[in-house]
């Protein structure tokens, strides 16, 4: 158990430290791509992906660095993509909002809110059609949940009994709009979901233990053709698409609040209580930091795509 937590801690910390460096690159105009930071939400991706097998598939949205790394992604290739380099995940044509890596069954990400949901449903459809015993996970946010296509897809997934886990990362904001400004006072996501005949479970998205425990149980049920919505209530620490701690629109968003809800702080506490020392954990952190800096150097040294590649890949 302790080793599971340590592994989860490492993956979450990798996301955090990588994004800190990515923020620096962004501020230096080295990354000419939208970047939507995952800081604060790491427990969701890691908790859910820890419940998956390698053949299970994952799709994500505009905020998917964490989803990709949690599925076993390659940090070097990811940073290359962010920098627009030839050896990036999409050879520089996608950028931060378009992660893909079939070698780890990471199907792809799209920043058009809600679009990932029917596409994931299609992935689950294929798994059922081809009689595979795999599941698909769709990661999307509370903003995307307001797109009509999501409601249509809930019905479709239940109708066709598809092995699809919808993970709603409710980070409380759609860009800068609060839930209260977007949803009627009686809006009840559980009633909506269960009204379509889809199972609904809520987890504390700031707590790795809660997410992973629930995800592990649910994924096996999903595997039998029962679609489920897992809503993880979490907290986006940074602005919608910039590496700043924008506090203007959040009544309660102060440093103390962020730290109190920090999933990495929480899991670190668990590890300390299980007998690991501060020194051991700081060594772990140093290793990860080294890996991140190496990956960034590798990406910075990598080549840009040649001009001709502007015209390639439109058709297969």
């Amino acid at each position: 158990m302790k080793s599971d937590f340590l592994q989860a801690y490492k993956t979450m910390l990798l996301m955090r430290l990588a994004e800190q460096e990515i923020a620096n690159l962004y501020l230096q105009n080295k990354i000419m791509s939208f970047v939507h930071f995952y800081v604060g939400q790491e427990a969701v991706a890691v908790g859910v992906c820890d419940a998956l097998k390698k053949d299970d598939k994952v799709l994500g949205n505009h905020r998917s660095h964490g989803h990709y790394l949690a599925k076993g992604g390659d940090l070097k290739k990811m940073i290359c993509e962010l920098l627009g380099k030839e050896n990036g995940l999409a050879h520089g044509k996608g950028g931060s909002m378009h992660m893909i890596d079939k070698s780890v069954n990471f199907v792809g990400t799209t920043p058009i809110l809600g679009s990932v949901v029917p596409l994931s449903c299609g992935s689950a459809f294929e798994q059922k059609y081809s009689k595979k015993n795999d599941v698909t996970v769709a990661f999307f946010g509370d903003g995307a949940f307001e797109e009509g296509i999501v409601y249509e897809t809930l019905n479709l997934a239940a109708l066709f009994k598809l092995p699809l886990l919808f993970v709603v990362e409710n980070n409380l904001f759609a860009v800068n709009s609060k839930l209260n400004d977007r949803r009627s006072p009686n809006y009840d996501i559980e009633k909506i979901v269960t009204g379509f005949g889809v199972k609904y479970v809520r987890a504390d998205g700031n707590d790795y233990q809660d997410v992973s425990k629930k995800a592990k149980n649910l994924v096996e049920e999903v595997r039998t053709g029962v679609p489920v919505v897992l809503e993880c209530i979490t907290y986006r620490h940074m602005a919608h698409s910039a590496p700043i701690f924008d506090e203007g629109y959040r009544e309660e968003d102060v440093l103390e609040k962020r730290q109190e809800k920090d999933p990495i702080k929480k899991i670190k506490q668990v590890l300390l209580e299980s007998g690991m020392s501060e020194k051991e954990l700081s060594d772990v952190e140093d290793d990860i930091k080294k890996n991140v800096l190496e990956s960034i150097k590798f990406a910075m040294d990598s080549k840009y795509p040649p001009k001709e590649s502007l015209y390639t890949n439109l058709y297969a």
């Binding site: 050879h91 520089g92 044509k93 679009s115 949901v117 596409l119 449903c121 299609g122 009509g148 297969a316």
Partner: protein, 346 residues
Amino acid sequence: MPERIIKYTEAIKEATDQVMEIDPSVFVIGLGVSYKNGADGTTSGLKMKYADRVFDVPVSEAAFTGMAVGSAINGLRPIVHHGRVEFALFASDSIFTQAAKWNYMFGGNNNVPIVFRINVGRQWGNGPQHTQALYSLFGNVLGLKVVIPSTPKMAKGLLVSALRDKNPVVILEPRWLFQLKQDVPVEIYGEPLDKAKIMKEGKDITVVSYGDGLVSALEALSIIGDSVDVELIDVVSINPIDHETIFKSVKKTGRLLCVDTTNEAFNIGSEIISKVAQNQSIHLKNKPTSLACPNVPCPTSTALTEFYYPTKIDIANSILGLFNKPKVDKKLSFEELHLAPTLTII
């Protein structure tokens, strides 16, 4: 081979059936495709033969089209049917932004082998919201291949090729042509997705059209007779347009008429005329001409639709006018003006 005359819709069904027999990754999805006479007969009987591969769906175009695209991303080959283009627009994100961009935006890492069969255009009494022929809209979207079958033979061959292709292919099927008949080969065959087809060779003028406009142009040929030697070209593909075939023809004839059965603004004829006009090696004897529908939606009343679509008489007279020949003074019957053609194409 003995003649085997079948309808446009039957040709589509035959192509679907023949490909489904060979390729288990092909499935059909759309509203009512499992009905006895599903999708205007283009899917009739398929549910009986392929119980697990023909899917009726909720009235949720966005979701089921997106689901089909997702399944194609993961290796299946869906045929998505939309009985009216207006309803397909609910799914425009899945078609235009997801399926069409997926391979490019991921640097060629994931092709999307999907076929969208979308019925468009003219049909009696269907009015402004059921008759749009939004060809240009689809032609404008990079990453899609877009074809328009004008005859039963092409309907079969293009669908077979679309199902063998690795990319998203949109087949815009003019509903007006569903009753058209032709001698269609029984065996499975493909037609190129990116080539225009010369329907009739000629030396005096190049007439370029597609869909129901092409059928009217074919009929116009028999009105004109031998007085003008027309070269008639079926565009077939509007993404890409086979400009080379058109250039070659216009170089020979020195004259160009484009016939569209959609409104005049931003249409296929405009695109072709623009490219011909920019070609320095083409010298035209007359200014290029375009025949198209007026820039208003198609109304419902037959008293108004009578003046909406270019008829075979309009086409014949446009051509005759260019050669200063006497125009034809013939009034079309109510049936000819307002009911879909049932003729047999040679």
